[in-house]
């Protein structure tokens, strides 16, 4: 067990280090601006005085390293500075929106993960039949479609033509949880469609890979019935690949959420990021990017640790 603990700790350390490097990248990228932030914000027409004033306000007179350390120290405790647009603290702008995005992603994941894994396993078991081929074309089509295509089709059919669900995911205070689920159903479904397709394909590949192992053949040659081969021999070894598939796709959800939020005008962090990019509100952009990257890294980390913990070779060292 000491070995596992050491490997997990090392992996954690590596994840932390990656995050640190990324924070440098995100901060450093802004330094690449032609001129500086003040110039970029105020544009060419700005006078020297206003520029100087803004520089003073942003603390641009200090060295980049000092500002980075300052920024990072703030970020660690949730203080990302103030928005250049309205001077509101970035954390306050992001906070509720981040919660909304997390809600939407969780909503989609809760539906997508079990459906995808079960379907993936079924398709793997029926591989090379007509169902497998139909599923292959269907999933291929789904992952090839841009999120906004799926989103607008859903709006067209489930909102405009039938009126079953609202096309704009408007959140207001005091709506019931059930209402919330209904209003966010279409954006969640859009993401589910894409993620299920991805996850199904990966699960199928992982399971087929597993079923080709000699020990599966051995189990069949020992006379184990089909369900026992799957439950006793395949599944205990399938956790690592399945955990990986899930984590990878949850990470994918994070990116997908940006486009989906824009399509459904959902007040999440993705839309905020797009707005901030258009309006060149750098503190918000930086904060959003850091949050997205951190979530991404966290998920990958969880997947790696999951596969370490489920690996019998590591759990029972020599």
């Amino acid at each position: 067990m000491a070995d596992v603990a050491r490997i997990v700790l090392m992996r954690l350390g590596l994840g932390l280090l990656t995050l640190l490097v990324i924070s440098v990248l995100i901060f450093g990228a802004v330094e690449l601006l032609p001129g500086d932030i003040a110039q970029a914000v105020l544009g060419q027409g700005a006078t020297e005085e206003t520029l100087a004033a803004l520089r003073q306000e942003l603390g641009l007179d200090r060295s980049a390293i000092v500002r980075y350390v300052d920024w990072l120290a703030g970020a660690v405790v949730g203080d990302f500075g103030v928005s250049l647009l309205n001077q509101a603290p970035v954390a306050e702008v992001i906070g509720p929106r981040f919660a909304n995005t997390l809600f939407l992603a969780t909503y989609a994941a809760v539906i997508a993960v079990p459906v995808a894994i079960i379907l993936g396993i079924i398709v793997a078991l029926f591989r090379n039949t007509i169902f497998d081929r139909v599923a292959n074309v269907a999933t291929l089509t789904s992952i090839s479609s841009p999120e906004f295509f799926l989103g607008y089709i859903l709006i067209l059919y489930f909102s405009v033509q039938t009126g079953w669900f609202p096309s704009i995911a408007k959140l207001s205070d005091g709506i019931s949880f059930f209402e919330l689920l209904e209003r966010t159903f279409l954006p969640a479904l859009t993401m589910v469609l894409v993620v299920v397709a991805h996850m199904m394909r990966m699960t199928r590949a992982a399971i087929i890979n597993l079923l080709a192992s000699p020990y599966i053949e051995m189990a069949r040659l020992k006379g184990a019935p089909g369900w026992k081969v799957i439950a006793l021999h395949a599944l205990p070894n399938a956790w690592a690949p399945i955990i990986n598939v899930v984590a990878l796709n949850l990470a994918y959800l994070i990116t997908g959420v940006v486009l989906v939020e824009v399509v459904f005008v959902y007040p999440g962090i993705g839309q905020l990021l797009v707005d901030a990019v258009t309006k060149r509100d750098f503190p918000v952009v930086q904060a959003c990017c850091l949050i997205f990257a951190a979530t991404f890294i966290l998920l990958n980390l969880a997947a790696d640790i999951g596969s370490i913990l489920t690996n019998p070779r590591l759990r029972h060292p020599k």
Binding site: I22, I143, P146, F149, I254, V258, V277, C289, F292
Partner: protein, 353 residues
């Protein structure tokens, strides 16, 4: 009940019976599950649902027919070796090739095919389709069809260039790392891990917010963002080749790095690399479309499918499908490329055994 519904079920059930009789198991399964599904759909959606199924089936049959003819056509004009490979292509892959071919024609001959210029305002905004405008006009009164044709050139062209840049950077570095190994490989590996732990869309947004949405910058940014993926794959593919004894033999002979890459590694990695090019193109293409949709990609008035969707999105709430057409164009090309890649991957994995 009317004649259509009766004919519909008669056809399906008759077909199922025939398939069962001639022991065509798969055909029977499809037809019969479709029959069962139709019962449900007919009850829920009425006759319209059945019409939709019929039209869908007709389109599918049309696509299959086109794919089949196109494959036979390719087999006829190709050399004997290519023809043998093409014969193994499933209809989906043939369909994919047909779509790619059509897009290429559309893109290359855009000025000849399109009736109007891409930025030419010819009528009122959102004018409906008439004999001059196949698909009507967009929000500024420009011809949708012409813009769609030009979009094939702009959007696909941009994605192609960006993919090529990603490949140029990624593949060369990947092969060098595989040959050199040691510290270069180590450092590259770590660096790539870090860059890849930022989601590509987010990374692109970050860089675009700083560097602006200039077309050249856009292409370079996307190329650079996707090159780590290519690097990883190339490193893995080349890594499998590098352990071969013939590489050791060449190294011991005293051959230089470029000889190893050019003569020994590249010829043995082309198949997976071409497939990866297709896959990568899909990712890049979707990213470009996504960025344009967000208003951060190709800038107006240049015609581009992503921004066309965004500009005309309001029509959706009136039940119009026009804004879905450019989106469908994006999806169709991506599906097509994916289908061809799927076949190529299957072939290259099947041939190894």
């Amino acid at each position: 009940m009317n004649y259509f519904v009766i004919g519909y079920y008669a056809l399906l059930i008759g077909g199922s019976c025939l398939a069962a009789h001639y022991r065509k198991r798969e055909v029977f399964l499809i037809l019969f599950s479709l029959t069962l599904a139709s019962f449900v759909m007919g009850i829920v959606g009425g006759e319209n649902a059945l019409w939709a199924v019929s039209i869908g089936a007709g389109l599918l049959a049309l696509a299959a027919g086109t794919a089949y003819s196109f494959r036979e056509f390719l087999i006829l004009i190709a050399g004997p070796l290519t023809a043998r490979a093409l014969r193994t292509a499933p209809l989906t892959a043939a369909f994919g090739m047909f779509v790619i071919f059509s897009y290429a024609v559309l893109g290359i001959f855009a000025p000849i095919i399109a009736p109007y210029g891409e930025a030419e305002v010819i009528s009122q905004s959102f004018a409906p389709a008439d004999e001059n405008m196949l698909l009507g006009a967009d929000q500024l009164g420009r011809d949708m069809f012409s813009r769609l044709v030009y979009g094939a050139r702009n959007t696909v062209g941009l994605a192609l260039v960006a993919t090529a840049i990603a490949f140029f950077i990624g593949a060369i570095l990947g092969m060098i790392a595989a040959v050199k190994q040691g510290w270069f490989d180590q450092i590259m590996g770590r660096l790539i891990d870090v860059v890849m732990s930022i989601p590509s869309l987010i990374f692109a947004l970050l860089l675009l917010s700083i560097l602006g949405t200039n077309l050249i910058i856009l292409v370079i940014i996307i190329g650079v963002i996707y090159s780590p993926r290519v690097y990883r794959l190339t490193r893995a593919v080349a890594g499998n080749v590098v352990v071969m004894d013939y590489i050791e033999a060449a190294k011991l002979r005293g051959e230089g790095m470029w000889y190893l890459i050019r003569k020994e590694i590249l010829p043995n990695s082309t198949a997976p690399l071409i497939a990866e090019f297709g896959l990568e193109f899909c990712f890049v293409f979707l990213l470009v479309a996504g960025l344009s949709f967000l208003g951060l990609g190709i800038q107006p008035p240049t015609a581009d499918w992503g921004s066309m969707v965004r500009e005309n999105a309001t029509l959706i709430s009136f039940g119009e499908i026009t804004p879905l057409i450019p989106a469908a164009a994006i999806a169709l090309l991506t599906v097509a490329v994916n289908m061809v890649v799927d076949w190529m991957l299957y072939r290259s994995s099947g041939l190894k055994e």
